[in-house]
């Protein structure tokens, strides 16, 4: 029971965190906390097989899948705070709290009777007991499960597959497109400028400075700009000045 009282607050806090964090990556990590805590609660409740399955399938496979998709979808896909239906968020909170209070009170008031415990059912071992059930009473459901998994795998392959509808642009096509862009929009046909390279800070997150002193947007990656980690070059210059005077003082 100690494990429960230690883990339950952590799980509830992590789950509430999923509701409020802005970035999908943070939500995935908080979900991992909830799932590992759940696995330990399964172990406490005499379900060692489900403990292993929970860790392998949920934290191992499903959360990795979530993280892969977050990586592919991009870092700038964070939640918008604009409500399309006015008052929907507040209403959802009210309804949710009412639902939760009703559910929790109802569950808490029901007497589940004497707890039989699993020591008898687990006498031959938990895995053996589950296998007895799975391959005797539930064997049809188990077979249907295999069909479901194959269908899901095929579905994912069909959805992820992309047919090429247009021919692949060759190098000559790309060159022609660059020149057309230059003629029509005045876009520079050469390569993009390098990110800023300074004596102290040689990194891709520092924009290059144009001759008039303004930072060049084209010199940094779009993803870094979306993530908001781009350094401002003039600030860096101030920093260098500060360091320089600081050294002077020490001398």
């Amino acid at each position: 029971m100690i494990a429960f009282w230690v883990l339950a607050p952590i799980m509830v806090l992590a789950a509430l965190g999923i509701l409020v964090v802005r970035k999908a990556v943070h939500a995935a990590l908080l979900l991992a906390v909830v799932m590992i805590s759940l696995a330990i609660l399964y172990l406490v409740q005499d379900a060692p097989f489900l403990f292993a399955v929970q860790i392998i399938v949920y934290t191992g496979a499903i959360l990795m899948l979530f993280l892969f998709v977050v990586m592919l979808v991009g870092v700038d896909a964070s939640d918008s705070l604009v409500e399309t239906i006015r008052g929907q968020r507040a209403m959802a909170l009210v309804v949710g709290v009412l639902f939760g209070v009703t559910l929790a009170l109802g569950v808490a008031q029901v007497s589940v009777g004497a707890i039989a415990g699993l020591s008898e059912a687990n006498s031959d071992g938990n895995v053996e007991g589950l296998a007895q059930l799975l391959f005797k009473d539930y064997v049809f459901a188990f077979e249907v499960t295999s069909a479901l998994l194959i269908t899901a795998a095929m579905g994912a392959m069909v959805l992820a597959h992309r047919e090429r509808l247009t021919p692949k642009p060759s190098q000559a096509d790309l060159a022609r497109r660059r020149m057309r862009d230059y003629a029509e929009h005045g876009r520079h046909p050469g390569p993009l400028p390098n990110p800023g390279v300074f004596a102290r800070h040689n990194a891709v997150d520092t924009p290059a400075l144009l001759p008039d002193g303004t930072p060049s947007e084209a010199s940094i990656s779009r993803v870094l700009a979306a993530r908001g980690t781009v350094q401002s070059a003039p600030e860096l210059a101030d920093d260098i000045e500060q360091l320089y005077t600081g050294e002077e003082d020490e001398k």
Binding site: M1, L16, V69, V97, A152
Partner: protein, 99 residues
Amino acid sequence: MSATPFLVLSAILFTIGCVGVLTRRNAIVVFMCVELMLNASNLALVTFSRVHGNLDGQVAAFFVMVVAAAEVVVGLAIIMTIFRTRRSASVDDASLLKY
């Protein structure tokens, strides 16, 4: 070891998942909240398995995990496809059926 605290925790987690589905706009986070609800029901199944003294509840929880895995695979593939065509993973943007 009483069963009621486990059931109440399961109810709380289910509610949090439910509110998450209703409030969040990012399709991936909505999907995570669905997973949270499935996990909460699994906890209730395992607890009832202990209360009744047989393993049927654990087998049910196992099947829920299998279905959840299949659902995640297809759901994330759909989110990827939507993102590829609309450049957004927000559930508000995929509203073409409205018109």
